[in-house]
């Protein structure tokens, strides 16, 4: 009698959606694994969790997690999630999406949600290019990197997402690579327990596309780059956290307390209605 082997995390995943669409060596599976590990360690109530993703490879994550989930149009997961969180503040609303989705087409939504300090938890898998469409240049593509649309080398300066998130007002900002799986899991746990807008950037390997054009043809080679270049430096200056081939500063950058939009909103609603009774 062969016993059916059940993965310990299977209850967190939709088996009907497996196998996933991700390439060998892709880091998205590690992001999902760390997220699910954090849910498990926190014993999160899956009935009160909403996972939202936009378009791109990592955008399929929403469909893989066994919670309420929504896969939006390109760039709009944060705007959609704003409506969810305000309509029902009891829900834990997590956005898991990519660098192009969140910072090119969706960049405006990111900075304004951070400015408002809405209690959204954002995980960005940054793979330095548009993987789903075959490897075009994006807002985080490093200078001189080769992509299908920068065949002579990228001349656009990339975003430093840590600096952007910190300057926009996020209460929690961290960066890890997929090599730092345990620390990423701990960061996700911290983020889920915090009030306000939180952001974690995960540097994620895309060996099949980005790596192939940039002399890192396997997942292992990309992970070796992360190992060689990454420096853990907690609470270092966000403006100096630019990613270069030689150095990827990782760690926590921001962890502050600030009243969330939804808290201020509901306090205001209570005040308005108390005043009225006094009239």
């Amino acid at each position: 009698m062969v016993q059916e082997i059940v993965h310990p995390f299977s209850k967190y995943l939709r088996s009907a959606m497996m196998p996933h669409i991700w390439c060998p060596g892709c880091g998205n599976g590690i992001v999902l694994n760390c997220f699910v590990q954090a849910l498990d360690e926190l014993q999160e109530d899956l009935d009160k969790l909403v996972v939202v993703s936009g378009i791109g490879c990592i955008g399929r994550t929403a469909g893989y997690v066994n919670a309420d989930s929504f896969h939006t149009t390109h760039g709009r997961p944060i705007a959609f999630a704003t409506g969810v969180k305000l309509a029902n503040p009891e829900l834990e609303v997590v956005i898991i999406s990519g660098d192009g989705d969140l910072f090119a087409i969706g960049g405006n939504h990111f900075i304004h949600a951070a400015r408002r300090n809405i209690g959204l938890k954002v995980v960005c898998a940054n793979n330095f290019n548009y993987g789903m469409t075959g490897g075009q240049q994006g807002p985080t593509t490093p200078l001189e990197a080769l992509t299908t649309t920068t065949p002579y080398g990228n001349i656009e300066h990339p975003f430093n997402l840590i600096h952007l998130a910190a300057a926009s007002g996020a209460t929690y900002v961290a960066r890890w690579t997929t090599l730092h799986a345990r620390r990423l899991t701990q960061s996700i746990k911290k983020m889920l327990d915090k009030e306000g807008f939180c952001f974690i950037e995960v540097i994620s390997p895309c060996p099949e596309i980005f790596g192939r054009y940039n002399k890192m043809r396997s997942g292992l080679e990309m992970m070796e780059w992360f190992k060689r270049a990454s420096v853990v430096d907690n609470f270092s200056v966000p403006s100096k956290a630019e990613i270069t081939p030689e150095k990827i500063v990782v760690g926590e950058f921001v962890n502050i307390e600030k009243a969330s939009y939804e808290k201020l909103l509901h306090e205001k609603i209570s005040q308005i209605n108390e005043q009225k009774v006094e009239w």
């Binding site: 929504f70 705007a79 959609f80 309509a87 609603i269 308005i272 009225k276």
Partner: protein
């Protein structure tokens, strides 16, 4: 409840935007996201004051794309939701109106039409977005769009728009115009118990058996909301009845998109509303909607006084298009006159439905709608 937070009832003197905002509250709307734009801004301003009084949410988003996205999110989290805009914002919203169609999200989008294209004439009226209402987002879909002609209808049709959106799980568009939005008129608001309010149907199966896009006989699936324990998935991708992506399947694409069209077209008779005035024996039928219909009514009455058998078919529902009503009234008529504040949009639908009866189009752009005299002249010329 304090006096101020009570729903408005009885007789009031309001402008159209405020009447629309009050209609939304009366319909049970508790989430508004928007972005300032003339001539729809007063809807947002009024709701920023009124929503908190009902425990509802008002938020000004960073643009109209975000506004409609937040509206869809709030609807999925269980609140009746609305946004309001004008042409430039309506253009930005088309992307996520498509998402609302695809994910069958009940929500209301108010477009107070001004002169276009582009920035156009922000403070002047237009009816140039009515084809965009039907065809503005890519792909095939059914949608519902209503055209108020008075401040009273800015209230009544906002309530109706919520009812239709909840019934058919479809974004419902209120296509007002600058004049109807900004003019002040008497509005009579029924008491809460007299208003017909429709809420989306909920699933009556356990979460394990729930498929978020399994339709009932009316082609509309019952809707669970986030946080209710159903743990369902929804996506803008072509999907099956479980909401799971089916991007390579011709069968799923055909079934889903056909249903999205047919859930509206099959119920068209229930959805469509028109006003018919003196059509029984009309030799000349005037077709109009929105503010123009008021001039048209005046013109028809003047024609009757002059012994001309004229009648008015006022389109209250623009989409689904009332083609049976047009066909019926055109059958015995010598001519159909269509007056619109655009270069000829709904007239194309009228021509299709009027089959053979001659259709005359009367365009007007800019500050004023057609005068009754201008419409009367065309009636006289087509007896």
């Amino acid at each position: 409840m304090s006096k101020k937070s009570a729903l408005l009832t009885g007789m009031h003197f309001l402008n159209g935007d405020v009447a629309c905002a009050e209609g939304a509250i009366a319909a049970g709307c508790r989430f508004f996201a928007g972005y300032p734009i003339t001539p729809a801004t007063e809807i947002a301003e009024h709701l920023s004051e009124r929503m908190p009084e009902f425990g509802g949410i008002y938020i000004q988003m960073e643009d109209e794309i975000a506004s409609i996205a937040a509206v869809i999110g709030a609807s999925y989290a269980g609140l009746k939701s609305m946004t309001a805009t004008s042409g430039p914002g309506f253009s930005l919203m088309q992307e996520n109106i498509g998402l609302a169609v695809m994910t069958e999200t009940p929500c209301v989008v108010v477009d107070i039409m001004r002169g276009g294209p582009s920035t156009g004439q922000p403070t002047l009226p237009g009816q140039q977005d009515v084809m965009q209402a039907k065809w503005g987002s890519h792909g095939d879909y059914g949608i519902v769009a209503l055209a108020p002609s008075s401040v009273q209808e800015m209230f009544d049709l906002t309530v109706e728009a919520f009812n239709l959106s909840e019934t058919y799980r479809v974004p419902t568009l209120l296509m007002g115009d600058e004049i109807v939005a900004h003019m002040w008129e008497k509005v009579v608001i029924p008491s809460v118990s007299q208003l017909r309010i429709v809420n989306r149907k909920k699933p009556n199966v356990s979460p394990e058996k729930y498929g978020p896009f399994v339709p009932d006989d009316d082609l509309v699936p019952p809707m669970a909301c986030f946080g209710e324990g159903y743990r369902f998935h929804a996506t803008g991708l072509t999907h099956d009845e479980h909401g799971y992506p089916r991007t390579q399947s011709s069968k799923d694409q055909s079934e889903l998109v056909t249903r999205l069209c047919e859930k509206i077209s099959r119920s068209a008779d229930k959805i469509i509303k028109v006003q018919e005035v003196m059509l029984e024996d009309a030799d000349v039928v005037v077709v109009a909607y929105g503010i123009v219909a008021r001039s048209a009514l005046s013109a028809v009455r003047k024609a009757r006084e002059a012994g001309i058998k004229a009648g008015l078919l006022r389109l209250i529902t623009l989409w689904p298009f009332p083609e049976k009503h047009v066909a019926e009234s055109a059958k015995q008529a010598k001519a159909v006159v269509v007056a619109e504040m655009n270069c000829g949009q709904m007239v194309r639908e009228v021509e299709r439905a009027a089959k053979g009866t001659s259709v005359v189009f009367l365009s007007k752009l800019g500050e004023e709608p057609h005068t009754p005299a201008e419409i009367l002249e065309v009636i006289r010329g087509n007896i």
